[in-house]
Symmetry: C2
Subunit: 579 residues, 2 copies
């Protein structure tokens, strides 16, 4: 038989380490079976319930309240435990060093209570690390930007709107905001937040994924390679709302960083248009890039200088062991010195070829529509009417009622080809030709003149206006004669490939429009100067900086206005420079 007692402390602010240690302290008291010390969120209450620690009266706790629960062998023991909460909190605060004990020894003599004071103590600090609870984090990050410092924002539960505002302001100032929810970075050999100790080397990383960066950097080290820089962006950076601000800044930094010879980009699947822009930027860095969008089908093995990985471990392997000279030598597509505006329209006879083209092109073209969608957002509202970039499978059921398959009958494709060529917004038409038994005996005889006519209709003087790309699937034994088919299509002006992925690679290069960034670049010295940082929040991150030989100052932070949110907002307004 046990008795459970609880206590609610409204609006109290405590460091999460303090809460963890209080919980451990309570659980270790005589007669105490279990204890819980959490903020009163619904999720935390549910977790207490799972451990049989949630009393009916405790459900009154609000998210900002501290909720303390003790289950003990008797009511007296439980009450006694609760009575020791304050002394346990005091005890913790009086202890020298931090929980990890990796600090430089005793409790430092001086702990500034503000960012401004901390930066006066350590003016060389380029970085401010913020690991406060989410509701306090954005305003401290904002203050750091105001003071001209880069931000490593570990905190989660930060509003998306705050992230957007912080990153837009940082970009204007040539500053980086890693995060929120950025777990990991390695800057100039020093790990920020959670970071493995790895050899320095020539592989630079950008990651919207904390443990993704940790796993890859660890694998790189374990494979004998080394890391130049590892920049975290926070998990939401590649969402449409944020637009990959930090990822683009980071990619640009690593492109300019001479110590970085290969770049690894890792993220959960980005928003399609963000992914397309980032891939275009990656194609333009002039260095080999390994890209791993976790959970997204790769568009093939390689597009230009970008190789696609299928696991964290493989990303590391490709970067460490990849034969990059080979990548550059293979880079021989008939690319010309212009980039295509306008849209791609695919007119396929082969359903799987259309589908594989969508898999590949969705990584580089946005928005992309099709009647063979991979995600519902890609579904063409009307299969008969192309819009934006569009891939049509003309062999789909809706087109073949009482009509021969387009592999046998080119009529529908010829009509569509004329229509697309007449659309001035279309700059590339993608076709497939599938040879073999059962298929049209001579598709080039019908398609080649149509391609020539389509190209001519757009003014042969300026070839940039329209390009026809044809994927020819077949063998030298096929009855149509592979060589002759390819030659006639090429003579008509088509760019001919023999597989979908080669065609995707070609289209990806032609449509790669790296956005010219008018914002000031982040100063490369950020990565090169000995790391110095101010830490606001979890002391273990301060300890870790010191242990790694970096210069660091810990801010003895307390919530402004005692945690009163209205007053906090007012204070923040007063601090912000005039717009």
């Amino acid at each position: 038989m046990t008795i459970t007692l609880s206590q609610i402390r409204p609006g109290a602010y405590y460091d999460s380490v303090v809460l963890m240690q209080l919980q451990k302290g309570l659980a270790a008291l005589p007669g105490v079976a279990d204890a819980g010390v959490v903020m009163g969120t619904a999720a935390n209450q549910a977790l207490l319930k799972e451990s049989d620690l949630l009393l009916p009266e405790a459900t009154a706790a609000r998210p900002d309240d501290l909720l303390i629960v003790v289950r003990a062998e008797s009511e007296a023991l439980a009450a006694s435990a609760l009575a020791q909460v304050d002394s346990l909190l005091q005890k913790r605060r009086g202890q020298p060093g931090s929980s990890q004990g990796t600090g430089p020894g005793d409790w430092p003599a001086y702990r500034p209570r503000s960012l401004v004071a901390a930066l006066k103590a350590l003016p060389a600090a380029q970085w401010v690390l913020v690991s406060l609870p989410g509701r306090y984090a954005a305003s401290v990050a904002q203050e750091a930007l105001n003071l001209g410092r880069h931000v490593f924002l570990y905190s989660d539960n930060v509003a998306l709107a705050d992230e957007v505002a912080l990153k837009h302001e940082a970009r204007q100032k040539g500053l980086l905001v890693m995060g929120p929810d950025c777990g990991t970075a390695i800057v100039n050999g020093v790990g920020l937040g959670f970071a493995n100790r790895v050899r320095r080397g020539w592989i630079g990383l950008v990651g919207a994924s904390g443990t993704g960066l940790q796993a890859i950097t660890s694998h790189i080290h374990n494979l004998g390679g080394g890391v130049s820089q590892a920049i975290g962006t926070g998990g939401r950076d590649l969402k449409a709302e944020v637009g990959g601000v930090t990822a683009h800044q980071s990619l640009d930094l690593l492109a300019r960083d001479e110590a970085t010879q290969v770049i690894i980009l890792v993220s959960k699947p980005p928003a399609p248009e963000v992914a397309a822009r980032l891939l275009a930027a990656a194609q333009a860095v002039g260095k080999p890039v390994v890209l791993y969008f976790i959970g997204q089908p790769p568009p093939g093995r390689q597009i230009g200088n970008v190789t696609f990985a299928t696991s964290l471990r493989e990303a590391a392997e490709l970067a460490v062991t990849g034969n990059w000279q080979l990548v550059r030598d293979n880079d021989q597509s008939p690319i010309t010195n212009y980039l295509l505006p306008g849209f791609v329209r695919g007119l396929f006879s082969g359903g799987t070829l259309a589908y594989e083209a969508v898999v590949g092109l969705q990584a580089v073209l946005a928005p992309l529509y099709t009647n063979v969608p991979i995600t519902e957002a890609q579904r063409l509202p009307d299969s008969l009417r192309s819009q934006a970039h569009a891939i049509l499978d003309l062999g789909a059921d809706e087109f073949t009622v009482g009509r021969l398959h387009p592999m046998m009958d080119n009529d529908l494709r010829l009509r569509k080809l004329r229509q697309e060529a007449a659309d001035p917004d279309v700059s590339l038409i993608l076709l497939d030709v599938v040879l073999g038994e059962g298929a049209h005996p001579d598709p080039a005889a019908e398609l080649a003149p149509a391609v020539a006519q389509a190209l001519a209709s757009r003014g042969s003087a300026d070839a940039a206006q329209l390009e026809c790309v044809v994927i020819v699937v077949g063998t030298d034994d096929d009855p149509q004669g592979l060589t002759g088919q390819v030659e006639r299509l090429a003579q008509a002006g088509a760019t001919v490939f023999r597989s979908v992925d080669e065609a995707v690679d070609h289209v990806a290069r032609r449509f790669a429009h790296p956005v010219k960034d008018a914002h000031p670049p982040v100063n490369l010295d950020t990565l090169r100067a000995p790391l110095a940082a101010v830490n606001v929040g979890l002391e273990m991150f301060y300890d870790s900086l010191i242990a790694q030989g970096a210069a660091a100052v810990q801010v003895e932070w307390r919530p402004p206005a005692g945690g009163n949110e209205k007053l906090m907002a007012l204070l923040a307004k007063m601090k912000r420079p005039m717009d």
Copy 2:
């Protein structure tokens, strides 16, 4: 100035080749600008409209009606063209040979009008090829099964329920139904439907994707390899409703076929549970398998004998050039001779590690739930309550309000670990341990005893009851001491891996439950005997069989009851053997 006239012929049946040729015939008449000959479906009407060929009166045409439209320079010329429809149809029917002209010469003297008669003429025919319009196709396929023949069902627009019924019946009889909407197969060196002419060799294929098979077999040939058999399943075979009946039969056939040394499986993304069963079956074939689920992120590069490709071309390359001896040598996971029932529960501290585990395990475990879903169907309704196979990211925002991240504080994971171990339906618990700066100074000190306790709680005598798998991410320079951490976890009884994909590979093997199929196997002689077939539908497929040296008979098919659907259903009922 042109005039458009149209004609509707209610409920008329014509071969699509006839319709194509009628359209070409009309368009070639003097003064005719364009012509359309289609069945009156909404899609076809819309296509006519795009070519400016849809008159208001023509919109009255129903899907079963033949719609003939002519646009000419004058009304007289248009009317004259329409008046020639019957003679054009007659002319076509009177021509010797077929459109492709690849047949053996003249129109054959005898053309049976029924399947029964055709099989009397060619009793050796193991195959019936059906390429009739969808609404007629299922009953002919059913008749072929009744007569003990395998079916190659090219037709699309066949009802899903008919597909399910046909395949279930075929399986009972040890027969194959390729299709509906099966474009391609190569059986014993002879292409059915659309098929490229490729070298014979030791690579066998199973594809729910027609042009996928064509592209891969062509690439194989072009790379110098060869094909033993290529079996099409139809695009819907791997949907949940059909359950991959044909794919499983085909995989089993190729497993038993001595000429096949490597198997390639290709499909658009299957239903999750079908994918898991198929992958389990692929793991059990005892031959190297290359698997390409187009548009689905691969669960890594390799699971046991199964290598995952990322493009049609790469699938061919892997099969032709893959070092299969190497695959077998690497196959050294600590697999024991039992397979696990029950569920996998993942308790992760690293969000990306959890996510990559979901990417990998979704291919092998179904249903799989998680708070870091890739598809919405995977979303765990309540993050606090595991169900079925479940992967939890305990570092997700909902768990870290006022609580330290699980990389620093193991309390939540230890509680969850005890809960999962107490659930008798759980047979494998998957954990990660992330070392490095900022993380817990000694995670093994807390996790190893908990693992040992969890294993002991389930009875150490029968180790099959519970397994703990731990992924340790870190380097030999990390402050926690990598070797010591790994050793203590292993000593506690955990199976330790150093990357997510190795752990996924391990779990995939442990949960591979190839379903024992109680149905009669398909006779291997099906693939070995010289191909003989009856063709019902498009004559070009008959021509192609003859051109390839196969024995074939073309059925001079006409719809039963003149196409009257009610009468057809009645006739079909009378023909079917008593149940």
